[in-house]
């Protein structure tokens, strides 16, 4: 069984802070991590590899050269092969253009039985790239996957809904996008880390390598454009109540009552 796992290196947006003076983002020192949902996608593939013979896991990412670190980390967890698709021409891509690039790379990889993606990345939160790759490869998709079972070429999954889940059956080849509920990602072993840096390699592919039409990639190829970006305006500062004892709480409820809030 051949599984392609698409991952993305993202800034840890929980750690991003605003400069209180200028209101702009402080990006320095924000750590880069493998996107959370993608870790679950990888773990899902690794669990299948633990359970079945002949499972081969290929990692695929589009990103800047620094994304090599993310791929090494994922290799250390147990993936077999890693491909970094990197080119200035891909910069500024929206989800449509990104999925074109990933699709072209997957076609170059050639044979596979399943593609796992995280549901969404914490820096964009769109959840669009997985389904769009599925569409461009003309494959069935199941998103929000929280459980996977494989029998022959049949995959039975649980797809999370807001108020429960669906049990869905799909045949390989297919695309699954995974959520946190699927599993708990493992830690890399010392041996794994050693191998990821000493024995395994990260293959670097450019736009030319994946033979893609420059009109459908990067910012120029993207149907959506950013017209402007701005920092959300903070709402006017409220009232800080003095102290933190019974009187303070009493004061708070007095004010709430006065304004008919409670």
């Amino acid at each position: 069984m051949k599984i392609i796992v698409c991952i993305k290196q993202v800034p840890d947006t929980n750690e991003v802070k605003l400069d209180p003076k200028t209101g702009t983002l402080i990006r320095d020192g924000v750590p880069s991590i493998i996107n959370h949902d993608d870790m679950n996608a990888l773990e899902g593939a690794l669990e299948l590899k633990d359970r079945y013979k002949d499972v081969e896991i290929t990692l695929l990412t589009m990103g800047p050269p620094q994304a090599d670190v993310a791929l090494r980390e994922a290799l250390a967890m147990g993936a077999d092969r890693a491909i970094l698709v990197s080119d200035r021409a891909f910069a500024g891509a929206d989800t449509w253009a990104t999925s074109n690039t990933l699709t072209a790379a997957i076609k170059k990889i050639g044979s596979f039985d399943m593609i796992f993606c995280g549901r969404q990345a914490i820096d964009g939160d769109t959840a669009q790239v997985g389904p769009q790759v599925a569409e461009k490869l003309d494959l069935p998709q199941v998103t929000y996957v929280q459980k996977i079972e494989v029998t022959g070429d049949k995959v039975t999954v649980q797809r999370a809904l807001e108020d429960g889940y669906e049990v869905i059956e799909v045949k390989m080849p297919c695309v699954l996008t995974t959520i946190k509920e699927l599993n708990t990602p493992r830690y890399a072993s010392v041996k794994g880390i050693f191998e990821a840096y000493r024995e395994k390699t990260v293959e670097n592919w450019t736009a030319k390598d994946i033979e893609i039409d420059p009109e459908i990639i990067g910012l120029n190829g993207s149907p959506t454009n950013v017209r402007k970006t701005f920092t959300p305006e903070p709402k006017g500062k409220g009232t800080m109540l003095p102290g933190c004892d019974k009187d303070t709480v009493c004061d708070l409820f007095g004010r709430l009552k006065e304004k008919y809030i409670i």
């Binding site: 947006t13 929980n14 991003v16 605003l18 200028t22 983002l25 200035r88 910069a91 500024g92 929206d94 449509w96 914490i122 964009g124 939160d125 769109t126 959840a127 669009q128 389904p131 769009q132 569409e135 069935p140 998103t143 929000y144 039975t156 797809r159 999370a160 809904l161 807001e162 429960g164 889940y165 049990v167 869905i168 059956e169 799909v170 946190k180 509920e181 910012l219 993207s222 149907p223 959506t224 454009n225 950013v226 017209r227 970006t229 701005f230 920092t231 959300p232 709402k235 409220g238 009232t239 800080m240 109540l241 933190c244 303070t248 709480v249 708070l252 409820f253 709430l256 809030i261 409670i262």
Partner: protein, 397 residues
């Protein structure tokens, strides 16, 4: 697009650095230079007072976009019942359609769902496009995508809005990819540009740390998903009249490559954060899962529900369906009590629309106090029990 900095005009004033959302401009030898982070977005162009930044825009042959007219809203139903998001989108779609002077249509797919059309018209639809077919009873990616893309290709709407539910977020990208058009996820604000009559789609980006306004200038339809709870419904008017257009559905079993074996409702009561009037939320400051007992007690006394920050969910203290914020739910209750939540921007993105925000945190510099109406600096383990007592007193009085 590509960005060029003309070094002969650049004075090194650094104004452009602030305008760059990607931290791609540095000052070297007193001149601004672009580094590898530059995506060519052009956001810096207007920041330069000395015309030292040139943005080259590549003009491509423009498709005929004028053939696309009207606003469509995907009226999601499950089990023969319309989702709240359908009405919210109609409320928003109504405004957009009126501004453009075009028709607002609700797109209703299902099996034996003709009974739902009145409700859609009462909530603002001029027309309901009804695709009724046994194979559309349950949502499937393949079935719904095929029917909707064929309708779009024949009727050519200029705007399509879809609720960002677990179903809408499965369907939207698939449709956009098949139609080769753009899709902007999780929009929090939609407007029509006065001059160009195009859709301005504003959404949080970078984990809610910045807002971005996105346009789809050369592709149609312009597609957005909108989070449940963000837009306001219209007050339904049972005298409103509209057209129900039943369309022919060509769909066979073999078109659908997934089989829904079973739909299981979660045994536990789903947390309804979106409709709650009062939410008491806890964050990392609770110190552990036990801290949520305090939060639950206060919520119970106030008649509200329990929310949480991402940090508390990531720590495994509470399940994800309680999460408020950019990756969780967007809420706008009457009262939002934030206990031990520092106020990461991605959390604020999901709750700052609340009518009254009360924050309790031991750190006086916590950003949550910037959005709070009332702030108490102190140990929540002491303050919350006192609040519980006070609520009891208020209720007795």
């Amino acid at each position: 697009m590509s960005v060029k900095i003309l070094s002969d005009k650049c004075l090194g004033c650094k104004l452009c650095m602030k305008s760059c959302p990607f931290n791609a401009i540095e000052i070297k030898d007193g001149k601004a230079v672009l580094n590898d982070n530059c995506t060519g977005c052009g956001a810096c162009e207007t920041s330069c007072k000395f015309k030292a930044i040139e943005v080259e825009k590549v003009e491509k042959p423009v498709k005929d976009l004028s053939a696309y007219k009207g606003v469509w809203v995907f009226a999601e139903q499950r089990n023969g019942k319309l989702m709240g998001t359908a009405f919210e989108l109609l409320g928003e779609g109504r405004k957009l359609a009126d501004k453009l002077g075009v028709e607002l249509s609700a797109l209703l797919l299902g099996s034996n769902v003709a009974g739902l059309t009145d409700e859609l018209i009462h909530h603002g639809a001029d027309r309901v496009i009804l695709a009724d077919h046994p194979e559309l009873k349950l949502y499937t990616t393949d079935g719904y995508t095929k029917v909707i893309t064929e309708l779009v290709n024949s009727k050519k709407p200029e705007i399509i809005l879809i609720g960002a539910t677990n179903i809408g977020r499965d369907l939207g990208p698939r449709i956009a990819a098949r139609l080769d058009t753009g899709l902007t996820a999780d929009c929090t604000k939609l407007e029509i540009d006065d001059e160009q009559k195009i859709l301005l789609q504003t959404r949080p980006a970078f984990g809610g740390n910045i807002m971005a306004t996105i346009i789809t200038p050369k592709h149609r339809p312009q597609m957005s998903t909108v989070r449940p709870g963000v837009m306001k419904k219209m007050v339904p008017d049972s005298n409103r009249k509209g057209i129900v257009e039943k369309v022919e559905v060509k769909l066979e079993k073999k078109d659908i490559r997934t089989i829904v074996k079973e739909v299981v409702k979660s045994a536990k009561q789903a947390v309804n954060l979106i409709d709650a009037d009062i939410i008491v939320s806890g964050g990392r400051g609770l110190g552990g899962p036990d801290g949520f007992k305090l939060v639950e007690e206060l919520a119970k006394e106030l008649g509200g529900v329990v929310g949480s920050s991402r940090a508390a969910v990531d720590s495994g203290w509470i399940s994800q369906d309680h999460q408020v914020g950019q990756t969780g739910k967007t809420v706008r209750p009457k009262i939002y009590v934030a206990c031990g939540i520092s106020g990461a921007i991605q959390h604020l993105a999901g709750m700052q629309g609340s009518d009254c925000i009360i924050a309790v945190n031991k750190n006086p510099d916590a950003p949550i106090f910037d959005v709070a109406d009332y702030g108490i600096v102190g140990d929540l383990h002491k303050v919350i029990p006192m609040m519980v007592e006070e609520v009891k007193k208020v209720k007795e009085a």
